[in-house]
Amino acid sequence: MPTNESDASPEISSVGDDSGKVRDISLDEFQPYGTLAVNGAYFVLLLVLYALLYFVEFATHAPHIIE
């Protein structure tokens, strides 16, 4: 008995789920704008934090190893 369904019939899931699915979204219909937004914010955060850590927190805390 296969444990992966070969068709995506909308089963409102049973055990442990709050409200369940209200609609199906196919591969072609799905545009992950939300993911782009979240990841974009993360990208900016990473660049800013890295630059802050590197040029402020690290570079200004002399002495350093110079060679």
Binding site: L27, Q31, P32, Y33, T35, L36, N39, G40, F43, L46, L47, Y50, A51, Y54, F58, A59, H61, A62, P63, H64, I65, I66, E67
Partner: protein, 173 residues
């Protein structure tokens, strides 16, 4: 193979991010002179004899030239020599090269809140140079677990203005 255009965009951004990080590090390494401990000519020493033969038999500060001093320092269970029983005194605004090894187990050398950081490994010589920008007292902590009194292993570096640096106590070559 289906790769959504957003995911392609994200992969492009990720590669940019990686390149930016590499660029920042290399810029810091070369232009800003922010480096890591090196290897002293690939030399190794014998931990069994390092206390009695060679430069580590007389740990301390030596003068290399005007404006360049070097310290042969031992890290051992559970003190820095020099540095623990008495502060290590060094001049500010002057190049200082540290050479460190251990006769017993691995130790660490850390000046908290700075970029001075090295692993001290028996048989190897950890080499790094620095320049203390101002007269100040710095702590040294052993941050590589070295045994039961590891948490008691500490030292002090007293950096003094170059004019006040007493050269009479230096180890002569």
């Amino acid at each position: 193979m289906h790769v959504h255009r957003f995911e392609k965009l994200w992969i492009g951004l990720s590669l940019l991010l990686i390149a930016a990080f590499i660029g920042i590090v290399l810029f810091g390494f070369t232009v800003m002179n922010l480096k890591v401990p090196g290897v002293e000519t690939g030399e190794t020493v014998d931990p069994a004899t390092v206390l009695s033969e060679g430069p580590f038999a007389q740990p301390g500060v030596r003068k290399v030239s005007d404006n360049h001093y070097e310290v042969y320092m031992l890290a051992q269970q559970f003190l820095f020599r020099p540095g623990s029983t008495q502060p290590l005194t060094l001049p500010a605004e002057t190049k200082v090269t540290f050479h460190m090894t251990s006769p017993d187990v691995m130790h660490g050398f850390e000046v908290p809140g700075s970029g001075l950081n090295a692993t001290v490994i028996p048989g190897q010589i950890a080499t790094f140079s620095t320049r203390f920008p101002e007269a100040k007292t710095y702590g040294i902590i052993c941050h590589q677990y070295c045994g039961s009194a590891h948490h008691n292993m500490q030292g002090e570096i007293e950096v003094v203005p170059p004019s006040e640096f007493d050269e009479s106590n230096l180890i002569s070559q």
